[in-house]
Subunit: 194 residues, 2 copies
DNA sequence: GTCTATAGGATGATAGAC
DNA sequence: GTCTATCATCCTATAGAC
C-alpha cells in the first residue's frame, strides 16, 4: 500500500482510539492494533505519540470546519443556525473526531497540546463570528450546546437512552434533531466492542 | 496527624492533580508530591489509583450539589438561574474540582468510571429539574453553559485573556459575571507552577 | 514499507521496617 | 500512621532485518 494511504488509515484508527481512551490512556500499540499494523510502524510514520495526536487534532479540526463551510454554503430554506447544528451532530458519525478534540480541550495545561487546543477552539469561534455571521451571544450559545453534546457523547449517555427516562429527556432536548444518528453510532460501537 | 485529616488532605491534592493531568495522565507519585506524603502511602490509604479517583469524583460532586443547594436556599432578590450560575463559577476557585469531573465525563467508555460519570452527571440534572424547578429546556441550557465553562477552564483559555481580543470577547460572554474569580485563580496557578 | 526483537524508563502496587 | 526499598508490568522508542 502507498505510504500516504497507510498514513490516513492510521490517522483514522488513532482518532477512534484517542477518542475512546484520551491522550494518555491511549497506547501506540492500541492504535497499531486498530489500524492492523505493527506498533513500531505507527511510531515510525509519525515520529512520536504526541506528534500523532497533534496530527489527529489538526485533521479533526479541518474536517469540522470543512463540514461547517459546506453546511453554510448549502443554500436551503433551513436557517443557518440549525444547518450548522445538524452538521455538528452528523460529525459524531465519524467516530472519535469530536471526542479527540474534547480530550485536547481538557489538557490545556500541557505545554504542547494546550496551545494547539486553544488555537483550534478559537478557530471555530472565528468561523462562527466572521464567516457564519453569528453575534458573540449566538456564538457562545452555539458553542455551549456543542460542548454539552461532546460531553454526552464522552459519557456514552446514549447507552442509557432506553433504560432511563430522564436521560431520554435530556438527550431529546439537547440534540438538534439527528439524535437517531447518535443512537445508531452508539449501537455500532457496542457491537464492535463485544 | 489523624488518619481522616490526612485522607482529606490527599483528596484535595488529588483533585488538583487529576484536574490538571486527567485520570491516566496522573501518577500516584504526583499526587503524593502534591500532598507531601510518600507514594506508597497514597496507595495504602485508598487501595488503588482508580478507587482514589472515584473518591475524588464523589467528593467533587457532593461539594457541587451542596454549593447549589446553598445558593438555592439563600433567599435573595437575584433570580435562581443567576444565583446557580454564580455558584457554579465560584466552584472554579476550588482547583481541580470541575476539571476532575470533566475528565470523568470524557471517559464514559471506561467500565468503572463510565457508570459513575453518567450517574453523577444525571444527579446534577435531577437537581435542576426536581429541586431547582427548571424546565427541561432551561436545564439543558444551564448544563450547556456549564460544559462550555468547564471546557474553557480545561483549555486554560484565561491564559490568553490579555493577549487576544476574541478570547476576551468569548470569556466575557460565556461567564455569568464572576469572571474575575477565574482570572485570579489562573494567575495563582501560573505563579505556583513556576 | 513494514516487521521482529528489545532497550530503557516509568509506574502502580507490595513488603516490611520503625 | 508513615516511610524506604523494590518488584513486576507496561509502554514508547530504537535497531536492524527483509
Amino acid at each position: 500500500m502507498r505510504a500516504e494511504d497507510r498514513r490516513e488509515l492510521i490517522l483514522e484508527a488513532a482518532t477512534r482510539v484517542f477518542g475512546d481512551f484520551g491522550y494518555e490512556g491511549t497506547t501506540t500499540a492500541g492504535i497499531a492494533r486498530a489500524a492492523d499494523v505493527s506498533q513500531p510502524y505507527v511510531v515510525r510514520v509519525f515520529g512520536t505519540k504526541e506528534k500523532l495526536f497533534l496530527e489527529v487534532l489538526q485533521r479533526a479540526l479541518a474536517l469540522l470546519l470543512s463540514a461547517f463551510r459546506a453546511a453554510l454554503a448549502d443554500a436551503s430554506d433551513i436557517p443557518v443556525h440549525r444547518r450548522l447544528g445538524i452538521a455538528y451532530v452528523e460529525l459524531a458519525a465519524n467516530r472519535g473526531l469530536l471526542l479527540s478534540l474534547m480530550h485536547a480541550y481538557v489538557l490545556g495545561r500541557d505545554p504542547v497540546i494546550g496551545p494547539v487546543g486553544r488555537s483550534g477552539f478559537m478557530s471555530v469561534y472565528r468561523f462562527m463570528r466572521d464567516e457564519a455571521g453569528f453575534s458573540a451571544d449566538e456564538t457562545q450559545e452555539f458553542l455551549a450546546g456543542g460542548m454539552l453534546i461532546n460531553t454526552m457523547i464522552g459519557l456514552r449517555m446514549t447507552d442509557d437512552y432506553d433504560s432511563d427516562a430522564q436521560v431520554r429527556e435530556l438527550l431529546d432536548t439537547a440534540f438538534p434533531e439527528k439524535l437517531d444518528i447518535l443512537l445508531l453510532v452508539a449501537a455500532d460501537q457496542r457491537a464492535e466492542e463485544s
